[in-house]
Amino acid sequence: MFRKFAAVGLVAVSALSVTTTASHAQDFKPSSPECLAPSAPGGGWDFICRTTAQYLREMGLIDGTMQVTNMTGAGGGVAYAHVAKERTDAGNVIVAASNGTTSRLAQGAFPNSTPEDVDWLATFGAEYGAIGVAADSKFETLEDLMNAVKEDPRSVAFSGGSAVGGYDHIKPLLLGKAAGVEDVRQMKYVAFSGGGEAVTALLSDSVQALSGDLSEIRGFVDSGDVKILAVLSPERLKAYPDIPTAIEQGYDVVGPNWRGYYIPKDAPEEARKFWEDSIRAMTENEEFQKMLEGAGIEPFEHFGEDMDQFIASNIAEIEEISREIGIIQ
């Protein structure tokens, strides 16, 4: 697959001089485009940056190549503070972001940083959360599971790939709230480092249920080891039409782990416009859409004002639940 992209890339690059003026006639072009990944090479944010760099180059939206820079620390906090306070260059940089970014902002885990410190650019996709149990579990539906939790919140342990307070933790809590669990703080969540370990814990019967992103567990779903009780998407997913959503089972919970970007606050208006148009063009690209589908990422697009609203509600939701479970005092 990548070889094909490379071929496309070669064609695109060789045709670059011809297509630049034709495809996107604009006044602004970043002089040295850069995507900042707040994680180490190989992490989720790094993937966003490398994919974006690849498509923007191949589609001829930027001149030359886009540099991917990694800046680790504080779960993205170091990069966030850097962009908020030190980046004043003229619209060259975009920064990869996801639910992890807004979760930490909502919980005040980025010291001296607020969501208003940067300009939220866009989202292009999301992985939806899923709640799974072992194939031989006594729980057949989400209702079975949530009833057990309601009766005795300590009887069901959820494993997940994020730290306490992270999104894998918040998803079952949102479900617990929707199910009317009196004190969601009683619910048991065991943090593992990554979805793979969380699934292993489920399969070794260490825990009773699993909260994760569908892409992390689909290998085990296809092999029949893990049964998904609900996917936290607005509608059933194309790839898994048999798995019901939480909403249709009566729990009004949606859990998109979105992927997107932010840019520095003081970036010029035309730079913002350029990046927005470029990302939009990328999401409309057929090859890009196919790649997303293969990676288990659903289209999830927010731009402009819509993006600002989405981020505000995303942060408000996480803040509320974090306050309830005592992560924020």
């Binding site: 697959m1 990548f2 070889r3 992209f5 490379a6 071929a7 890339g9 180490a40 090479p41 190989g42 992490g43 790094d46 993937f47 490398r50 690849q54 991917v68 990694n70 800046m71 680790t72 620390g73 504080a74 779960g75 906090g77 170091v78 503070a81 919980q107 885990a109 980025f110 010291p111 300590r154 342990a157 730290a163 306490v164 307070g165 048991k188 969540y189 065991v190 943090a191 593992f192 480092s193 990554g194 979805g195 793979g196 699934v199 292993t200 814990a201 399969l203 070794s204 019967d205 260490s206 892409s215 992390e216 689909r218 290998g219 085990f220 296809d222 092999s223 080891d225 790649m291 288990g296």
Partner: protein, 515 residues
């Protein structure tokens, strides 16, 4: 039979010109990175990821390149361990213990050849283990719950005292220091910050790569500077002669059981998620020492078996670590965690179905490992002098290069100047610890395993609602406790009874100082 035909298909994938070339390039770069102190498998692979992606290589080809680097590092690490007494990468630290004394005795060439053969044996059988075991692994890994993992790490620390130091107390102090450093950062089980002093750079904890590079590579530079200033430059000139390459036949034969034991131990250590090659080489060495030389008569003074055991162990662990990574999506070591990320970004989901869904990727990769392993043997024995020459560069040139690579390597991964300062700090700490004759290996083990150990204990407690009996709740856990207790008490009991003998056979100052 089915496995053999799958493997045949795999060779068809691997034996293309491009893939062979990639395996060769990977093996060469891997050996070089492994040999150069500061660059290890995890950062070696990490550095090459962008290259693999920007070359537009397919999933199989990318994996072949990166795993060849991984295997190569396991080979290369021994070269600087033996010649310079600096582990080229973290799993090679145990090789220093007997490799460097052998080099001091003028048997560097033999040590290199022996360890090269050992590396080959370890990798070769571990790759077979991967072939046979990976499809079945799901069940074995599932025996280990959080409680069992905790006990497993306890075993590692309980057996620590017998290794790497003549002074148990100093060894324990070093392990505590490592465990303390592992505490730094956000606690994943509660989200509370520990020892971060509101410094955002510390929120994620201290990357063990930074600690390793600082403690081993930079402290080496400081030691060199110190001696140079003190007019002892001749002593720090480490241009050890390689000597003859081929070991005597009897020496080689005498290590055959060592190879068998170390392969098994290393492979199992690799298969267990979170343990990795360092634990493999460490356990292989300590078990070997317990078995053949419980009274420290020859180990630590250039015993060939002390060179063979850790090298077999870390290479077998490298192969073993691929098993859970491919079949469960759980990385067995730091480097396989990086490889896992590569797989995911190449749109391949590791898991029980990987072997069914992407047989070309899996079997192509396994075949490539066999090929890379043979290439590595050829690169590492007849051509070992090529790599040695890199290390034979006079110290006054090599040390600045070591410092430079340390800084560039760390910066390329973290992109943070803070981490470089931290690394310098670790360099100074490492230098002080060396002065005090405190071994560095337990510090690293503490940093490496401390988090996993604590986190698994806390997971077990959460799941059991605070019931401590869960720690002895399964036959596997009880068996592991027994091993831990025996491993801890045996050296003490034996030590008391044979105190005078041990005193007599204590390694000379020069050797002890180098951990």
């Amino acid at each position: 039979m089915e496995i053999l035909s799958s493997l045949g298909d795999g060779f068809a994938v691997a034996l293309t010109f491009q893939n062979l070339l990639l395996a060769l390039v990977g093996a060469f770069l891997g050996t070089l990175m492994g040999a150069l102190p500061g660059l290890g498998p995890a950062n070696g692979v990490a550095i090459l990821i962008p290259i693999a992606f920007s070359l537009g290589l397919g999933p199989t080809s990318s994996l072949i390149l990166l795993t060849a680097v991984y295997y190569g590092c396991m080979y290369g690490g021994r070269i600087s361990s033996i010649l310079l007494n600096i582990p080229g990468d973290e799993p090679a630290m145990m090789t220093c213990l007997d490799g460097y004394p052998m080099a001091l005795q003028g048997k560097a060439g033999q040590a290199l050849t022996l360890s090269g053969i050992a590396s080959f044996v370890g990798s070769f059988f571990a790759t077979w283990g991967l072939v046979l075991l990976a499809p079945q692994l799901v069940k074995i890994a599932l025996l280990f719950g959080p409680a069992e993992y905790f006990v497993l790490f306890t075993v590692a620390f309980a057996t620590l005292g017998g290794v790497s130091s003549t002074n148990q107390a100093k060894s324990a102090f070093a392990a505590m220091l490592g465990l303390g450093i592992a505490m730094i950062g956000v606690d994943t089980q509660t989200g509370v910050q520990r020892f971060t002093f509101d410094e955002p750079h510390l929120f994620d904890g201290i990357d063990f790569l930074i600690a390793i590079v600082g403690l081993f590579a930079l402290s080496e530079v400081l030691v060199f500077l110190e001696h140079h200033k003190g007019g002892a430059a001749a002593k720090s000139g480490r241009d050890v002669a390689v000597g003859k390459l081929m070991p005597d036949w009897p020496t080689l034969v005498s290590t055959r059981w060592t190879m068998v034991r170390a392969t098994v131990i290393g492979f199992i250590a690799g298969v267990l998620p979170g343990a990795g090659a360092s634990l493999g080489s460490f356990l292989s060495y300590s078990v070997e020492k317990q078995v053949v030389d419980p009274h420290s008569k020859t180990f630590g003074k250039g015993d060939p078996r002390g060179v063979v055991a850790p090298e077999v162990g870390n290479n077998a662990a490298a192969g073993g670590a691929l098993v859970p990574m491919l079949s469960l999506g759980v990385p067995g070591s730091g480097t396989t965690a990086v490889l896992l990320a590569v797989l995911l970004s190449l749109n391949i989901t590791p898991g029980p179905l990987l072997f069914a869904n992407n047989p070309d990727v899996v079997w192509g990769l396994i075949a490539a490992l066999f090929i890379a392993n043979i290439m590595l043997l050829l690169l590492n024995i007849p051509m070992v002098s090529l790599f040695v020459r890199v290390l034979m560069v006079p110290t006054r040139i090599l040390m600045p290069v070591v410092a430079m690579i340390s800084f560039v390597g760390i910066y390329s991964i973290t992109g943070s100047t803070f981490d470089m300062m931290l690394m310098v700090g670790f360099g100074v700490v490492g230098w002080v610890l060396r002065k005090l004759d405190v071994p560095l290996v337990p510090v690293i083990l503490g940093i490496l395993l401390g988090n996993q150990m604590e986190v698994n204990l806390r997971r077990a407690m959460t799941i059991s609602d605070g019931d401590w009996t869960v720690l002895v709740g399964s036959p596997l856990a009880i068996a592991l406790w027994a091993i831990a207790i025996i491993g801890f008490t045996l050296p003490i009991i034996m030590g008391r009874r044979l105190k005078s003998k041990i005193e007599a056979s204590r390694p000379s100052e020069e050797i002890a100082a180098g951990d």
